[in-house]
Symmetry: C2
Subunit: 625 residues, 2 copies
């Protein structure tokens, strides 16, 4: 039984396998943020001919069903089938759009003063051929050569012994050593015959609860080659870390949670390797940053105790593992470095974020906030660092929002509403790209604009009478941001409720953390903001909806995904890797969830901009108008 794509490609399919799964097996990956449960609607395909059994059409409009649309994860062909896959359903690398990002990252690396000195290094050695008068063993010959070059000692894990004799002889005693510097000694991470100095790539991974991002980095020049991202397929075990831990510990799903994240990373690696024709032996190391639970799942460690008082992780600082131990599909010997964490609810992604913002070097008091599924806030300077977490939820990453999506090609990232006509002006990520959904920055823009134009009230209710773009949809009232062919892009009232809950949690986090250490917003010199909002976050709009405190605009700096930025820095500089370890040791975690004042503050934030409008004088001013 076959599926034929309208592009011409034909794929064999087994009965009882979904189209999603069948495509995956041949290396074609579709978007999904629900883990193939049929609830996100991101894997739409169009069935042209063939009998296909459809399990659920939940996320499809009648119009779409009539036009032959189906969800690939819910579609089970029972005969030869021809399908068309819309561009927006296909998982791709980011491509050209990262050129600017690469320049910014290289500039950031330079600004730290660190030289490119990657986690792993390659040495080309031309060993003298053995003779009867120079008949030391292969291993001693290797060590002697490295020592004679002034590079010091060499540790050789046993698994490299097996092929050593063949490897050194294969290319006339010339060999390439891949090494990692550990405890004053180089440790072999790979050996190749001959000279294979370049190419050398590193893989930096940000493992978010909702989104996984992979950077392909050229270790020689620090160039960011490309980026690929995917929804974390652990989502099928729960949206948040707590539900996933419950599944791991009470339903014995730890192995499956581990496999899910590894499989996601393997999909992204496979996309990147295919796009750039990268041999498996050109990838030398992997650095990952994630929250403590994600890091545990990634490493296959039991996170049960993270959930139960007194909230203890297996480790905050992790021994280096190898790709083969974890199932990452690169050379099994290459080292995998996981960013150190601070506590059960303050992870390596935040340590990585602080490294990227350089907050730990600033003399004046600064705040760093990373708005992901969990919102984490760090306050401090070069002397001290305190941190707290506030659960914001994944809506700004597109999850739980009807037409939400990550900030990739096709995402609406900027929304303006004409207060007279209520016409909507949008900006979409990517050249000449049709809008496919809305990302975090677009949501904040939209909510602020809708509020300022009266489409939305302070409680977050849509005002049907204000604009005819407000209409009744399948989830109640919704506002049409974009009228599309076949599909309009809307924000629904439940979407807006999600956005308000998220922004309330974030603002409460700021307020209470400052209060805990005896400071106010006025003492804060800088606010660094991270998150997957897109390229730009409109600070003013974020203040209007009450997500950010009302401070002078120049105090804010939007940094994008700092977790992956820190991973980029760490993979390229051993000095910065040392700094990351220093940051994790220095940071003190404060538990906010037990604080009654946090709950009070959160409830007060469930209005736009806030129950206490006086804290937002300029918004108050605007509202009067």
């Amino acid at each position: 039984m076959n599926i034929t794509l309208t592009s011409g490609k034909t794929i064999a399919i087994k009965p009882g396998t979904s189209i999603m799964e069948s495509l995956k097996r041949t290396g074609m990956y579709l978007n999904s943020s629900c883990g193939s449960k049929g609830t996100c609607g991101k894997c739409k395909i169009i069935i042209k001919t063939g009998q296909v059994s459809i399990k659920s059409t939940m996320k499809l409009t009648q119009h779409e069903i009539n036009a032959g649309y189906a969800l690939a994860c819910q579609a089970y062909p029972s005969e030869d089938t021809i399908i068309d896959i819309p561009k927006e359903s296909i998982l791709t690398v980011e491509g050209k759009i990262v050129t600017g990002k690469s320049k910014d990252l290289q500039a950031l690396l330079r600004s730290t003063g660190a030289e490119i000195n990657p986690l792993t290094e390659r040495f080309i050695l031309q060993l003298p051929q053995p003779t009867l008068n120079d008949n030391i063993s292969d291993l001693e010959r290797l060590k002697r050569e490295l020592f004679s070059k002034g590079l010091g000692c060499l540790r050789v894990p046993f698994r490299f012994m097996t092929n050593l004799a063949q490897t050194v002889r294969k290319n006339n005693w010339e060999i390439t050593l891949c090494t990692i510097h550990s405890e004053d000694c180089y440790e072999i991470t790979n050996i190749f015959p001959g000279s294979q100095k370049i190419p050398q790539f590193g893989i930096a991974v940000d493992i978010g609860t909702t989104t996984i991002v992979v950077y392909l980095i050229d270790l020689i020049n620090g160039n960011l080659v490309d980026v690929a991202s995917i929804y974390n397929s652990q989502i099928r075990f729960g949206d948040d870390v707590i539900t996933r831990i419950v599944n791991a510990s009470e339903h014995k799903e730890l192995k499956n949670l581990h496999k899910a994240v590894i499989s996601d990373i393997n999909i992204l690696l496979s996309l990147l390797r295919k796009t750039y024709h990268i041999s498996i032996d050109s990838i030398d190391c992997v650095v990952i940053a994630g929250n403590t639970t994600m890091t545990h799942f990634f490493l296959g460690l039991d996170p049960s105790s993270i959930r139960e008082e007194p909230y203890i992780p297996t480790a905050n600082v992790f021994p280096i593992s190898h790709a083969g131990e974890l199932g990452i599909k690169v050379n099994p010997n290459i080292p995998v470095y996981a960013f150190p964490c601070v506590a059960s609810y303050m992870g390596g992604d935040i340590v990585s974020g602080v490294l990227a913002t350089r907050l730990h070097e600033k003399e004046k008091l600064s705040i760093f906030i990373d708005i992901g599924t969990n919102g984490e806030i760090v306050l401090g300077n070069s002397e001290w660092l305190v941190a707290a977490a506030c659960s914001a939820g994944p809506c700004f990453e597109g999850s739980g929002i009807k037409h939400g999506m990550r900030a990739t090609d096709g995402a609406i990232e900027d929304v303006r509403i004409n207060p007279a006509t209520y016409d909507v002006d949008i900006k979409v990520i990517g050249d000449d790209t049709q809008p496919m959904g809305i990302c975090g920055s677009g949501m904040i823009d939209a909510a602020a604009e809708m509020f300022m134009t009266g489409i939305l009230d302070q409680k977050g209710k849509l005002q049907k009478e204000v604009s005819n773009r407000v209409r009744v949809g399948e989830d109640g009232l919704e506002f049409v941001i974009h009228y599309g062919e076949g599909k309009d892009i809307v924000l629904t009232e439940p979407d807006i409720e999600n956005i308000i809950r998220a922004k309330a949690a974030i603002y409460a986090g700021f307020t209470i953390l400052l209060k805990e250490v005896g400071f106010t917003f006025d003492d804060v010199h800088k606010v660094y903001i991270a998150g997957g909002f897109g390229k730009f976050l409109d600070i003013e709009k974020a203040i209007i909806i009450g997500m950010l405190p009302e401070l002078p605009k120049e105090k804010f700096e939007y940094m994008g995904n700092t977790s992956i930025t820190g991973a980029y820095l760490c993979i390229l500089s051993q000095r910065l890797r040392g700094e990351a370890e220093e940051i994790s040791r220095k940071m003190t975690y404060i538990e906010l969830s037990v604080s009654k004042s946090f709950m009070d503050e959160y409830v007060s934030g469930l209005f736009i901009p806030h129950t206490n409008v006086d804290a937002f004088p300029s918004v108050k001013e605007l509202m009067k108008k």
Copy 2:
């Protein structure tokens, strides 16, 4: 289809499987020195009833065939079968006879001045239970506890992380750490919940080309619990190291050679564990000593270049591996330490032997010779060590000798011939044990006595007219050492040729090594002799046949199997492990095989005692009588 033993036990058997193999699968091991090729005759069984297809009866007399004897490795039942297994065919542990050996070893350890400080150590830690105020991670808690006890740093390989959370919680935060000291840090080799200080056993292994010996050692008190030994089943790939290397490199048998030695060790471990009811988690470490080729095969390293000029091993000093990497059936995490080697033809067994003889501490010039399949000789003192190899062959270990056997229960170890009656007086290893064969010391005794009584001439020919114990057997003339029920024990003329070739090689080795460094036998203060001859080696008899030089008897010391003795010392003392590494660095290997004077000397030794009888004045005197 079943095999029933006369003892009552019934074993299921698959068609096409030999009785040998079927017994092995149920954990019953029979002797074999030919690797199941049907050429050693050591796995005899008696078939009582049942149709059995017999592939070869080569090693059976017509008398035996008539009595129902068969070789288990050549017997393929085609229906239910009842068999009887003679005691001498069954592989067993040494049992009670090692009590004396254990006392000697403990005395030797004490005499070195080293305290018992084994390769691996266990620590019991009671960790403080975590609280909200003491919420560091499990791993940090472990490290903090060890550090607070003044034990310093702890390195945790990644593979121990996976179960750490469960392990520390299982027994109320009490845990047992198994560690090995490496580079100023303890490295975890195992973790158990609760207190499991004892028992702790270590496994010392001597991997000989012909014989493998395993010691089960109590690491707490240094007691040798028991010994088990087996013929190296690599024998089916060749009797000597060169043939085996050819098989490994040209016939791609490396993996099978590796598996053969691991399987042999696993058989012995299984016997020992069953006999002493030892849990797999009570075995903490393995130390092996073997020649360079055997060490390579054991570790799975390609030995091809050992055979080809300029004779280069993969390594002489080996990184520590884990049992799981090698397939040894103990806890997969426990460390396996291989004795350092010196060169392609001077291995860890000799380094271990020098450690056992303490030659490297003596002020006066001494010689150490290990008579195994390869004869290795070391000359030196506390200042310097030189070494050379002379290929003696495996006859003194029982291989290539019709009724040869290792020095275990049932072996004739002492032979006296009455010069008047030619009656033979024998001593057999083990209490009340029927003689089953003859071991190395018995062969030397027999050859010397036969020579002195005129049964054997100077060329090694049997004199039929001297005694009616000389008779014509299937291999030509043979001398009956023991008339047994059903089976006589004999030495044949080909056996004697083997013995003469071996002793000639050994004597030539002594002579030429001394000559190379400008010394004579008179300069030698002590001669330490090692080998699997049995408990005693009669030095005078060894001089009579011209194996040892004629020196005052008190200069000789017979040490037994020094390779395993050194492994015993090394597993119990970290200081002595350091000494072993020092010995391997200090020793200089001299290649004798290229020396013409060695061949001349060897040919001169193919007489009893030697072509140059003047070098053996007392033997010359005896011959006159």
